[in-house]
Amino acid sequence: MSDITTVLVDILKYTIVAATPLLFASIGGLFSELSGMLNIALEGLMGIGAFFGMAAAGLSHNVFIGVLAAIASAVAASLLMGVVILRFKANLFIAGLAINLLAGGITTVLSQWWYHTKAVVAFSLPDPLNAFPAALAQIPFIGPVLLSHSVLTVSAWLWTLGAALIINNTRHGIRIRATGMHAQAVLALGYSPDRARMAALVWSGIGSGLGGFALGLSISAFVPNIVSGRGWIALVAIYLGRKKPLWIAASCLLFAFAESLSNYIQGFSSIPPLIVLALPYAVTLVSLIVAGNKK
């Protein structure tokens, strides 16, 4: 294989890897968006999922336990947010902001308490389970790019398909969407918009928790600010994807490609790495402006 092909394979393969956390989180955020709540807490929920997921996985030396802990912790935080918003009638955005602050605080404080550091906490975990037989990775190009990924990465795509099914083909999904379209009508038909919104927040929690955990797992470590804006990028993916799961997945791939590219350029070019780090945000911002919905 030529050099260019190798580079391309690397970039594309890492695009799929980098898309995993985004996909989990933005599809989770889609539920709350559809129910009529712009969930700016994805960032914080991802951080919570990353920390508790990695901590549990490290403790039990079992990735599956980590997954459960990531989901449980992020869902707990989104339930807290739901109660504050729906029962205490708090402002959606301030509550979301508070969750983001809380996440940053709790993970750092606990990291200091448990691991006595506020920097990198590395975990030695079993090798990630490959979803495909090793032989498939030998297929040129397609093999390494598409067929050499972990179970978690493949799950992100199953999660996307599953979410599409739930959203379009179940009573639950229809009720969440209906709440976002016309909450008053849902109430008039005898159903509770608040319950639908709470459920949507739980979905957000599950997705963000998994997304955060995927981030941690990809570096086998937890660092404060591990999420570094990915929750917001996931939020923009929802808009760019026009709230359709498959288009959201495409948007996530776009942003992940930007991240992959920026990683690559950092290693090999004369452009200063810190500038390159801004690339995913810039791509996200530009896409947000292009997708804007006025005039």
Binding site: F88, F93, I94, L101, G105, Q112, W113
Partner: protein, 343 residues
Amino acid sequence: MEAERELRGPARVVLAVGVSIALAAGVLALFSQDFGSALAQFFLEPFSNRYFLGNYLADAVPLMIAGLGVLIAFRSKNFNLGGEGQLYASALAAGVLALRLPAGIDPLTLWCWTALVGTLTGAAIGALSGLLKAFRGVSEMISSFLISAIVINISDFLITGPFQDPASNFQTTRQITRQFLLPRILAPSKLDISIGLALALILVFMVVAKRTRIGFELKICGENEEFARYCGIPVAAYQIAAMAVSGGLYGLAGALLVIGPQGRVIRGFSSGLGWSAISVALLAQGSEAGVVPAALFIAFLGTGSDHVMIGSGVPSEIISILQAVAMFFITARSLPRLRRRRP
């Protein structure tokens, strides 16, 4: 139907302040070996001597200025979540200017220029989000955050690259010479005369809000947009202006830190100030005068946390948790009664 108790502004503030203090005490009880002395460190040490008190007040100054900006944006129903980047980039712009101005310049001229450049930098970044909202319908929350993220990366690069102090082991710009830093009060603490400027600004904004047509029209825009249109007020212009003012005050806060307590721009300069300013604005409950006690409270939580960290081994990030809890209570509009509603 009316089984819910409406929470009024003052009640929310009291709850928020009370609960966050109680929580702070709780955390101390959990983490510290010696609860009594940790408690004393947290609550009393900031006031125990001239040095600590001065540093505590110095911490409150940027919170007052930036919090005032967030408050103005809130008043027109705009959320500026880009404070971190606005403050950082403006500080860098101001710092670089201060280092580049000829050494023979009069300090007052230097202060004015740096403050102006810092303010304008922040205002431009903030206004961008306002423009995107007005003309592209882009949520100002998301755009201000993303712009801030980009700006932070670029600033990081500039500090560690072109403007790196070659003599320093830290990732920082060169130090501004002492004569160009704002005069200190309560020496040897970090407190300088910028506290006067902060208080004066709050006074000015109070007057603008209460006495001028601009303040009046901004208030109408935030309270009822349809009514504002009925009154013939240009709503979009006020949205953009509010975001610009908010960004500008973040910028000013950054510039004053550079020519004041910090004296240089270290990487990671803003360190949460952008978010704390939002807490300040929320606690101030829409009143300019309220910004002063709110900033003093949030700075107190921060200073207290720092002291405890040094003393008891609790990380200073505890302040984020305390702020988050305060936010929850400040935004709760009703407390449901414990007994269930009639079906």
